[in-house]
Symmetry: C2
Subunit: 357 residues, 2 copies
């Protein structure tokens, strides 16, 4: 069996950073207890002993596996991740990630600072070969739940080789997590033709074309909704802007619908549809976002999540472990890099493009 | 009075490329006739004599100023713009643009190939100093009609000096066209802090900060909807992706609402709200997009426009001329470049950034 996978029926051991997010530990504990009812898990709550125990005491956990592992302090969104990790060596995110490192947990889930979670993952679990940073990926639109975007915001100024790694990671995720056979990979650009786009995209196109991935060429902004591709590759600058743009547009359209339908629907129905419309553009708030590229399973949730979002992120984490994503991703990346080396020993286009970077 | 402005009460002379778009000359002529009823214009229809005359004959234009200037052939979306301009020297877009060049028209409006319109504008009217290509700008979201984006899709891989030019052009548009005093300029990035974003954005930040523009710093994807900035500056790669993404998301959410409300609303009301929702993310289809940076007024419409979209683009064109946008933009660009030269003669940060590019 895979070291990182849990394809058997044993419960998945979830290290929950109970201090993370805007509403930790109240909503994180509540959500984690909710998850106990949904998924076959052993729950390990990591946080300041007293407040977490106080929250835990609100619930009846008789017969369920719930442990509290004490930590000291938390890292806020406003802190510099690396500096904060040094000055708070017992912070909840570090203690929780260490449980995965030591094999005492299968996955860590946090609603806390994205920067701190990524830094502690890199520091403790290590990066997969060929990456400089982890990346964020997954479906992000409720109206397009089968379309995976990588990178959703962690890497700026990406070289073409890194874009190829994103494609490989996204392909594994789409295959293993979403069950899509031979996922179609599209490169986000401004037109379908090979010559379209900026320099980064033109050079990435050449690398993707020569890879063993199922590359279908360039796709455009509307293709998040047309189903042309299963995985859409872009750098984290564009990915972050798109995620936040979708959130903003969803909110604005939700307000628009609410205004236009006032009078035609009951206040309850109106609130419901407006809320659904907003949710549909805010998928990471309901299911968390898996971190790709570190040697261990990590799922990040939105800081503003309440209990249901926390339970959703834990559900994602359980699936992440069950399908053995970490091992599959490491294998795919290693294959990609082996092929690239072979290509660069030849004299093909890929070698020339690689040399430029 | 300004050469390019028409602040008096004389009619604006509109050279309409009657052959352009998916539905020319039928819808272009119909839309132009509709515009005669909305705006004080003299209409100059440019196109293949017979089909355009046949369309024109459907309408009673007694007492209105309508002229037909014959041209030969049109340039399609699938043709290479520069090559097509050479092989079809009497194409409608060239003949129409020449009327602006010669002073026989105040503005050209086309629903045809964007590439061909841009190329003929650059070739015949010339670029303003400091630009390498024209750019597209304006509000593009019905839910955020006061937020201007520049560049919406024509320039890839922009140097920081070009991003500064976009900011200047957008600022003039927001001030003169939308009536916003001292428009707030935001730079599109992934976080508010100066160090956030890719290299292009970090370097552009330094230039914008030292400019005389009302620069408020970085903004994020959601700020198209928060009203934090009047003008959002990005390169054409990101701008094009955002425009098409918004179109796609609007369409998807419109379908979502239609499905969710089936049964709660009458089919007519349902169709209306679904249509409104779609329209609200597709503003350029109803009002056209002004071209910035060429020495003459040019408005481009979406190829799929029917008559009402054509009339909307003509309305934009009339306003473009009345407020004298071309002269104001040229003055602002010249001011920006004068300041940059002064700065680069000194030893400030701007000079160092400029030298790197």
């Amino acid at each position: 069996m895979s070291v990182n996978g849990r394809s058997d029926d044993r419960p998945v051991r979830v290290a929950m950073d109970a201090m993370g997010g805007d509403f930790g530990p109240k909503e994180t504990v509540k959500g984690a207890i909710e998850a106990l009812g949904n998924d076959n898990i052993e729950l390990i709550l990591v946080g300041d002993q007293e407040p977490v125990q106080a929250e835990l005491d609100r619930y009846d956990t008789t017969g369920r596996s719930v442990t509290l592992v004490p930590s000291v302090d938390k890292i806020g969104d406003d802190e510099h991740p690396i500096r904060a990790l040094r000055s708070k060596p017992k912070a909840s995110i570090l203690v929780a990630t260490k449980l995965v490192k030591s094999g005492d947990a299968d996955v860590v889930v946090s609603m806390g600072s994205t920067g701190a979670s990524m830094a502690s993952s890199v520091f403790l679990l290590g990066l997969m070969d060929g990456l400089e940073r982890p990346c964020l990926g997954g479906p992000f639109l409720g109206v397009a739940p089968g379309t995976v975007m990588v990178d959703a915001g962690s890497n700026m100024d990406c070289r073409p080789a890194l874009m190829l790694s994103f494609a490989a990671l996204g392909s594994v995720f789409a295959h293993r997590f979403l069950g899509i056979e031979n996922p179609r990979i599209g490169l986000l650009s401004v037109g379908a033709e090979e010559a379209k786009g900026n320099k980064q995209v033109q050079e990435s196109f050449a690398l993707l074309k020569e890879s063993h991935l199922n590359f279908i060429g360039n796709v455009e902004g509307m293709d998040f909704f047309t189903g042309r591709a299963d995985v859409i590759v872009c750098d984290g600058f564009v990915g972050n802007i798109l995620m936040k743009f979708a959130e903003g547009l969803g909110g604005a359209l939700s307000g628009f619908v609410q205004e236009r339908l006032a009078g035609s629907l009951s206040p309850q129905d109106l609130a419901k549809i407006s809320d659904d419309l907003w949710q549909t553009t805010n998928m990471p708030r309901t299911m968390g976002g898996p971190l790709f590229g570190v040697n261990g399973a990590v799922v990040l949730g939105h800081g503003s999540c309440e209990a249901s979002g926390v339970a959703g992120a834990i559900h994602t984490a359980v699936r992440y472990v069950r399908v053995g994503l970490v091992d599959s991703m490491r294998e795919e990346l290693s294959q990609i890099h082996k092929n690239q080396q072979t290509a660069s020993e030849g004299s093909g286009a890929a070698a020339k493009v690689k040399a430029k970077n």
